[in-house]
């Protein structure tokens, strides 16, 4: 138990030292960044002892769910933090064919690119003004206007000290705290804030429409077991819009535990399409969290694309805090061997006329397992809310397993909500029909699986992105594990 605590403490210290070594500026948000980490650590250390118990049923790494038992604290303490600000593999590139994107690279949790600059326009200084900006939080000058813009993020990070008593009471209501903070989510956020070196900031000013999609590539590579945390803030001002693709990739042989937290705020009328691509080796674990706040008539469309990975967890919380806010949450997971995936989606409707739609589809082969937990909360004031939740699974092998726990918690009248879960197999009649036309059984199976995935892919807004995802999905079904073919990471004989 003590070991988990000291590991976290040591890593926070290490991360802090690395950050200081990298920075040469004095005016930045360094103090706040450090305070944020310190606060998070404080919160973690105040957790009940049982949360640090690797053998117990109730651990910090979700040991309660048998699915995660093997990722537990025991695995965690045996890891290392990766080297400080490592160089990128020199010939790394990640082209999305036929698509012009702007790219930001994060290598083993460390943001690449010039210090103090706007990574979108390298000649400009990082600042949250009238231009879009992507930068490290520590590169931003700590001016009053910057502080004001980022205040909601800092406030969220300040919150959440739970006493032991509170903690227990939260858990006793079957994980669901009537729309209040969920301890399981909170503690994972703290862990991320405490252990990530820096925060990547994505900012769009009022009315700004970013034409080119932005791609954030989180590259993870280590042959020794490491723990990598990345933290990201996204702020879209009134009426701003963009397409964001965030890819988490690794070498097929890598042993990385990639923990990621994305916090986003969409002001009125803002629009964000957010694609989360997870395509890592079988020995990697990915724990991703998304926390979003949507203001009046803003719109968020997310796609969680879990193409490959030993163990993947998506924890999503979307708060529709003002009228007409709208979220579409799509997910596609393609798992085989002994891979496991969990999607845990919570949507809080706290204002009238808000809308949410969830559609998660999965194809599970071999002995793969999937877990879906969807929780829709409708506040008494959230009248005329619409919420749809759907999880569908295709089991293509007798050993594959899907578990689903849909949950609607509705305190308002005059709402439209529904949920559904299906678990099915490939249509034997369709297979026979296709084989009758000369298509071999294996190819026919793949065609059907792709068709199944298509319902999610067709929701992707940018055509070129859709084509790119489609080709990745196709390759995945063709048995090409690491789908990014041209990437240096995809050729095991090459060492980065």
């Amino acid at each position: 138990m003590q070991k988990v605590k000291t590991t976290i403490q040591n890593w926070v210290k290490e991360a802090g030292e690395q950050v200081c070594a990298c920075r040469d500026r004095k005016q930045g948000f360094d103090a706040e960044v450090n305070a944020l980490a310190a606060r998070a650590l404080e919160n973690i250390l105040a957790l009940p002892e049982s949360r640090f118990d690797a053998a117990g049923a109730d651990g910090l790494f979700g040991e309660k769910i048998s699915l995660w038992r093997e990722t537990g604290a025991r695995d965690f303490v045996e890891r290392r933090r990766p080297q400080a600000c490592p160089g990128l593999p020199r010939d790394f590139c990640c082209d999305i064919e036929g698509l012009d994107v702007q790219q930001v690279l994060i290598y083993n949790g460390c943001v690449a690119g010039a210090r103090g600059k706007n990574l979108l326009f390298p000649e400009q200084t990082a600042q949250l003004g009238d231009k879009p900006c992507v930068c490290r939080l520590s590169d931003l000058e700590a001016t009053p206007s910057h502080r004001a813009k980022l205040a909601p993020f800092f406030e969220a990070a300040e919150k959440g000290l739970h006493t032991e008593k509170k903690h227990v009471s939260v858990r006793s209501t079957a994980d669901f705290a009537q729309g209040g903070p969920d301890i399981g989510r909170e503690e994972q956020k703290w862990l991320n804030r405490a252990l990530s070196e820096d925060t990547l900031l994505i900012y769009l000013p009022e009315g700004c429409r970013l034409e080119k999609p932005l791609q954030i590539v989180s590259l993870n590579h280590s042959e020794k077991p490491v723990f990598v945390a990345t933290h990201c803030w996204i702020l879209l001002e009134k009426g701003a819009s963009m397409h964001l693709v965030q890819c988490t990739d690794s070498h097929p042989q890598a042993e990385v535990f990639a923990e990621g937290l994305v916090e986003m705020r969409l002001a009125a009328d803002a629009q964000l399409e957010y694609i989360r691509m997870q395509n890592v080796g079988d020995r990697c674990k990915v724990f991703h969290q998304l926390d979003a706040h949507l203001e009046r008539a803003s719109r968020l469309v997310t796609h969680f694309m879990t193409l490959n990975g030993g163990l993947t967890q998506n924890k999503v919380e979307i708060n529709l805090t003002e009228p007409e806010a709208r979220a579409d949450v799509f997910g596609l997971y393609l798992q085989d061997k002994k891979q496991q995936v969990s999607n845990d989606i919570k949507i809080n409707h706290t204002a009238p006329r808000t809308y949410s739609r969830e559609l998660f589809k999965g194809v599970l082969d071999d002995a793969a397992r999937a877990f879906f937990k969807g929780h829709v909360f409708v506040h008494p004031q959230a009248l005329q809310t619409e919420a749809y939740q759907n999880n569908r699974n295709l089991l293509v092998s007798p050993k594959a397993q899907a578990n689903a726990k849909p949950y609607l918690e509705i305190y308002a009248d005059d709402v439209q909500c529904n949920h559904g879960v299906t678990v099915g197999q490939l249509d034997e009649d369709a297979l026979f029909y296709m084989r009758c036309r000369g298509i071999p059984a294996e190819a026919a199976r793949r065609l059907l699986m792709r068709a199944y995935a298509d319902e999610i892919l067709k929701e992707v807004g940018v055509e070129a992105l859709r084509g790119w995802l489609d080709s990745l999905v196709r390759k995945r079904f063709n048995g090409q594990l690491q789908a990014c073919q041209d990437c240096v990471l995809a050729c095991p004989e090459r060492t980065c």
Partner: protein, 252 residues
């Protein structure tokens, strides 16, 4: 001989359906199979196509001088056997175009040919669409999904045109077609028929045989071919029904 069926017996879930079918089909011939509902016509077609659900209990089927049962479903298709389904299957999410591209190219691969390039394929497809009067709109939809009964049958003939089989078995392709569609579809089949291939049409209606004129008409009843004749037999059946055959048989 293209197809030679000898004393074929087949069952499903222990229930015997085919009880000794004998049938010979040569290239260049058109055969019609008629017979009362539930007597094994579709079963015969499924067994030839290779549906594993049916168990072959006895007899022989030779196709192009090979033992048909040595080939799996897709190999039979690649060897030129085409089954036009009585109830075509819906495949949500797979467009007719991608379905046919896969089928055509898989069959080409089997024959050692390179896949058709996208441009040539589109041209080829347009040509065959015209043959059965299929619109582009339909071709871009998912296979049979939400198609009307007649559209599904047109789609079967379209696929036959695309794949140019050596042996086509059309199971009640005429049912559900309106008068114009029947003429178009039958016209399509006639254009596809030549001296190197053979067609077996399964039908309940003599009307189809006015358009697709068969060389032989067979009656399949109670799992056997009980009578074979010319197209005149179809006319006789239309007038007298099948009971007459039973009487005829039992009177024998």
């Amino acid at each position: 001989m293209l197809l030679e069926i000898k004393d074929l017996k087949a069952s499903i879930n222990g229930k015997q359906i085919l009880k000794g079918v004998n049938l010979n089909v040569n290239r260049g011939e058109i055969h019609a199979i008629m017979g009362p509902n539930g007597n094994g016509k579709s079963t015969l077609a499924s067994v030839i196509a290779g549906k594993e659900m049916f168990k072959v209990d006895g007899g022989q089927v030779r196709y192009k001088d090979k033992n048909l049962f040595d080939l799996n479903v897709e190999e039979r298709a690649c060897e030129g056997i085409f089954l036009g389904f009585q109830y075509p299957v819906e495949i949500p999410g797979v467009s007719i175009t991608s379905f046919m591209r896969a089928a055509v190219n898989e069959q080409r691969k089997y024959k050692g040919l390179d896949p058709m390039d996208a441009f040539a394929f589109m041209k080829y497809m347009e040509e065959k669409q015209a043959l059965v009067g299929m619109t582009d709109k339909l071709a871009n939809r998912s296979v049979n999904e939400g198609f009307s009964g007649g559209e599904k049958k047109k789609n079967e003939i379209f696929q036959m045109a695309m794949l140019q089989p050596e042996l086509a078995i059309l199971d009640e392709t005429d049912s559900g077609l309106d008068i114009d569609a029947l003429r178009i579809v039958a016209g399509g089949v006639n254009k596809l028929a030549n001296k190197d291939n053979a067609i077996i049409v399964i039908t309940h209606y003599q009307r189809l045989l006015d358009y697709i004129v068969p060389d032989f008409v067979h009656v399949l009843a109670d799992g056997k071919i009980v009578k074979t004749g010319t197209k005149e037999l179809a006319k006789e059946l239309e007038e007298k029904g099948y009971d007459w055959l039973k009487d005829h048989d039992s009177g024998k």
